[in-house]
Symmetry: C2
Subunit: 196 residues, 2 copies
């Protein structure tokens, strides 16, 4: 891995751990084993490096998620599998965590990757809900966009509860609660996770 790459990867980790406000150029350089000069040669400053790092994290997350969501199964099964997948809960979401950073939110360049990621995710889940409704799997009363937003919010809020308590349990509890509520709207009662 070359110096530029190491700087980007170092910034990705620090943004995840500490946020933009809590990430210093010095810390990036230490993590990347790069000098001051290298960093300012490859990037105009902290902001530009953070932007590149953020875009990469967003891309990575989207790739993983799409893989999960396009796997086989009914609509309910796919959504449940996504919600219930293994996560490093106490580390939080590498994208969502930056929504609390005041300087990320204030800078359109840094905020855009967050917005794009969550817009895409909500749309993608809404599409699956809509398919489920079209195939008679879900009640037609289910609003696809609102249901999708609720599912994404449960994940993001689950991270908050878990970190606040120092345990992954509240995350798991919230996700179980959400899956149970969604399952109850399925016309055929498919138990998620067990192919019928």
């Amino acid at each position: 891995m070359n110096t530029r790459e190491r700087l980007i990867e170092g910034a990705r980790e620090l943004l995840w751990e500490r946020g933009y406000v809590g990430m210093s150029p010095k810390a990036i350089q230490r993590k990347a084993e790069a000098g001051q000069g290298s960093m300012y040669h490859h990037f105009s400053g902290k902001t530009e490096l953070a932007e590149v790092a953020l875009r990469r994290s967003a891309e990575t997350l989207r790739g993983q998620t799409e893989k999960q969501l396009s796997a086989g199964g009914s609509a309910l099964e796919r959504i449940a599998a996504y919600l219930l997948r293994d996560r490093d809960v106490l580390r939080g979401c590498p994208i969502g965590r930056l929504a609390q950073d005041p300087e990320v939110i204030a800078d359109p360049r840094l905020r855009r990757p967050l917005n794009e990621t969550f817009s895409w995710l909500r749309d993608r889940l809404a599409e699956i809900v809509r398919q489920g409704v079209a195939q008679g799997e879900f009640s037609p009363e289910l609003d696809a966009a609102d249901t999708a937003a609720a599912m994404v919010a449960v994940l993001q809020g689950g991270y908050v509860l878990a970190r606040a308590s120092g345990s992954a349990e509240p995350f798991a509890s919230a996700v179980r609660g959400a899956v149970a509520l969604l399952s109850a709207r399925a016309t055929k009662s498919t138990t998620p996770g067990h192919r019928s």
Copy 2:
């Protein structure tokens, strides 16, 4: 308001806006119109001041919430009213936002108020769900703790989606989705917000 009070209130606002990592002693002093000496006279340092400020914010939030939740109405109505109440969505939650702060999470003194707040909130909502089940309002299959966790997570995650997009809409959408899912588990179909 005396100097000590102004320091606490200044710290509360800065913790909400910028988090612990992003809040500097100098900024607190400016906001409180207090000198360096005053701050270190009343508090041993940044951490102690933050702890006092955090406890007060937690107490305030709990007071407001309890008022909402103990108002009249059916279980569904009370939960829906709490979820749908007016909030300054783009500012985020003054407690939940600190769950992303690495130094808050690393310090048990600072983390405790977060943990206590969310533990209390989940228990309180679970109690209401349980009452709803006992009175035949909700399906007995509803797990009270998981449902409560999901509702709290929707709120916290809703803030994340709203801030990421720069609009309150995704928060509203997620809450509508959650209320709709919960309403569907009510045995009598009460439309929340409209007394039947």
